[in-house]
């Protein structure tokens, strides 16, 4: 302890080597006043046998990085987020295997619902089904009420419009999964609800999180503003979407729909809407100049088709093709069950075109046509394929706005049925 003296023998970068009077060679830290070889210096006795500080720093940084890395690797990575606005607002994070790895409520009701319904580590479709069932059970979705389910899918990996790749497939899968499972559950429960599946990119989701709303609501607010309807942040957070609809006098489906025409080349804005309980005059008219008085109606298959197209503008890979086919088949079966559901509901059926004559056979035929059309991936061939059976407006619409999907397949079906 205490101070001792030494003769400097060698000077290093941060230290110097001294020899002490009693014959010890020591490495001591450099005195601040500077030092020369041959000078006697006074140093503190407990000599710091310094490790190379840089090595130590590098090593510790590496340890931290490694720890962080392994930690990250251990944690499942979310590949997509699905935000649900029923009125309980929820956000589900989905991993590569379509499993729900985290679920959180974005508002109070959402939090309550998450506590009651355990969806963690469930497959996405089951989880969504559970949630919808939970909503029905706890009377967030009530029969006879104008229910709205707004689902927003966000690709967690890429911010930009997705290119054709695996992730794309994945997101589409999530998309379809959300769509079908919600649809199924709604129909099974017999509670009528309007389903809108929107797509938000990562930026939008972040912004939405900053405003502590769901991406769906955020998109809604933005689109509403575009159409001249102002929704304040406050209202966006507090009010249910349906209430807002009434208050501000707009249609969600319409708003989310109108995103499409001017964002043709950014397919992640694509929306699917399904409005079983809507009268046709409520559906949007994407191309009013072309058809000022007639509402555009599409079959659900048309819709899916157009989604596919806009998602994959050039050509469809065989895998995708298969996938969509499967989807369509699934949806076909959905449809029949939905039709049953509708019977009970007795919703106002628009222009009265809707009828129960939507026969499976007919749908199949249509499906085939759609498929072939898809393979050609041109609207013209599609027109040809559909020419005889589909509505003339379709053609006009497609040539005008390719890939734009519209709503109300039921009335569409009805149309077709009538024509047939």
């Amino acid at each position: 302890m205490g101070q001792s003296r030494g003769l400097v023998l060698e000077i290093k970068k941060r230290s110097c080597i001294v020899i002490t009077g009693d014959g010890q060679y020591l490495e001591v830290s450099k005195p601040r006043s500077g030092v020369e070889v041959g000078r006697e210096i006074v140093f503190n006795r407990p000599v710091i046998y310094r490790f190379k500080a840089t090595y130590l720093a590098v090593a510790s940084i590496m340890v931290v990085v490694l720890a962080w890395w392994t930690f990250n690797a251990m944690l499942p990575r979310a590949v997509a987020y699905v935000a649900l606005d029923i009125n309980p607002s929820l956000e589900l994070a989905i991993d590569v295997d379509n499993e729900i790895i985290s679920a959180r409520g974005l508002n109070d009701e959402g939090k309550k619902l998450i506590q009651r319904v355990d969806v963690l580590h469930e497959p996405l479709d089951k989880g969504v089904q559970k949630i919808i069932a939970g909503c029905v059970e706890y009377h967030y979705l009530n029969q006879g009420q104008e229910n709205l389910v707004l689902a927003t899918v966000t690709d967690a990996k890429r911010n930009k419009t997705y290119i054709e790749s695996k992730e794309n497939e994945q997101i589409k899968e999530v998309y379809d999964c959300v769509y079908t499972s919600i649809n199924n559950t709604i129909n099974e429960s017999g509670v009528g609800a309007e389903l809108i599946v929107a797509n938000a990119n990562l930026d939008e989701m972040k912004k939405a999180r900053e405003n502590s709303v769901t991406p769906g609501r955020y998109l809604l607010q933005r689109e509403a503003r575009k159409n001249g309807v102002q929704i304040t942040d406050q209202e966006l957070r507090k009010e249910s979407i349906r209430k807002l609809e009434v208050q501000k006098n707009f249609q969600v489906g319409e708003l989310m729909q109108t995103v499409l025409p001017d964002q043709q080349d950014s397919p992640d804005k694509l929306d699917i809407t399904d409005k079983p309980g809507k009268s046709p005059d409520k559906t949007n008219k994407p191309d009013k100049s072309n058809k000022p008085d007639k509402p555009v109606r599409f079959d659900k298959n048309d819709k899916l088709d157009s989604i596919d197209k806009s998602n994959t503008p050039v050509s469809l890979s065989p895998v995708e093709d298969r996938a969509t086919k499967n989807n369509q088949e699934k949806q076909n079966s959905n449809k029949s069950s939905k039709a049953n559901a509708r019977e009970k509901q007795s919703v106002p059926q628009g222009n009265g075109h809707f009828s129960e004559e939507t026969r499976p056979g007919q749908q199949d035929r249509q499906l085939q046509n759609e498929d072939s059309a898809k393979k050609n991936s041109s609207s013209d061939s599609q027109i040809e394929a559909q020419g005889k059976q589909s509505v003339s407006q379709n053609n006009a619409y497609f040539s005008g706005k390719k890939g734009v999907n519209s709503t109300d397949k039921y009335s569409q079906n009805g149309n077709k049925a009538k024509q047939n």
Binding site: L7, L9, I19, G21, D22, G23, Q24, V37, G38
Partner: protein
């Protein structure tokens, strides 16, 4: 005589030096005589190195000059100079002999122009206390640095660095003293030191036999022993280092 010379080392570099000088200062002429006689090999070494040839007391004036200079150094040495006496003596010897050699060459070249003038002036200059002190300090610093550099060179030649010496330097005083004893043993038996220089390895067996220090300890402190041995062996050269590091002299015996 040989025995005497052996002793000189201890007088000139040992702990008794200060006592001895003190005695001389107080007017003990006999001890002055003895001290100078003891220092003869040292003087011969310094002058010989300066002239670059071996000298004999009978033939060469340089040695006499050195002897006179050494005597002068005893008188002029003061503790507060901050320089070990040996170093100071060396300085004085060197400067005097250099002066002599310069005069010699002048004598040889232009004998007619020999004059006492310049020498007088140099003396008066040296005599000037302030400048003398500064001169001594500067010389001491320079010499010390040179010494350390030379020491570094010598141990590097034996494959040792200061860094390694730091690592092998024992923390406990007992161990240190044991190792220093081993180093002294090597220095005292110059044949062992020569083996060390040639083989760059510690003559383990001999040291073990001679000192009775266990092989394990020797092995562990190998580098430290070599470092200290080099330092001790060049006692006359590494004046500053040796005067700074007060090692137990001749501890082995």
């Amino acid at each position: 005589m040989e025995q005497h010379q052996e002793e000189c080392g201890s007088v000139l570099f040992g702990d008794e030096l200060e006592v001895c000088l003190q005695n001389i200062k107080e007017g003990d002429e006999s001890s002055r005589e003895k001290f100078i006689a003891d220092a003869k090999p040292f003087i011969a070494g310094v002058v010989g190195r300066l002239c670059g040839r071996s000298l004999s007391w009978e033939r060469d004036d340089e040695l006499s000059i050195g002897l006179i200079a050494f005597n002068e150094a005893i008188d002029r040495f003061k503790e507060k100079m901050g320089v070990p006496f040996t170093a100071f003596a060396r300085m004085v010897i060197r400067s005097r002999v250099t002066d002599y050699l310069r005069k010699e060459t002048r004598w040889n070249r232009v004998e007619l122009h020999m004059s006492e003038g310049p020498q007088e002036s140099t003396i008066s200059q040296v005599e000037n206390d302030a400048s003398l002190e500064r001169y001594i300090k500067e010389t001491a610093n320079r010499e010390r640095i040179e010494e350390i550099k030379d020491y570094n060179l010598k141990i590097t030649r034996l494959g040792i660095t200061f860094q390694e010496l730091v690592k092998s330097s024992p923390k406990h005083r007992d161990t240190r003293e044991t190792l220093i004893r081993a180093a002294c043993y090597i220095v005292e038996h110059s044949s062992l030191y020569d083996t060390l220089q040639v083989s760059k390895r510690l003559p383990m067996r001999e040291v073990e036999m001679g000192t009775g220090i266990s092989r394990k300890v020797l092995e562990r402190g190998r580098k430290y022993i070599i470092g200290i041995a080099v330092l001790l062996y060049h006692r006359e050269e590494y004046i500053y280092l040796n005067s700074y590091v007060r090692l137990p002299q001749g501890g082995a015996d």
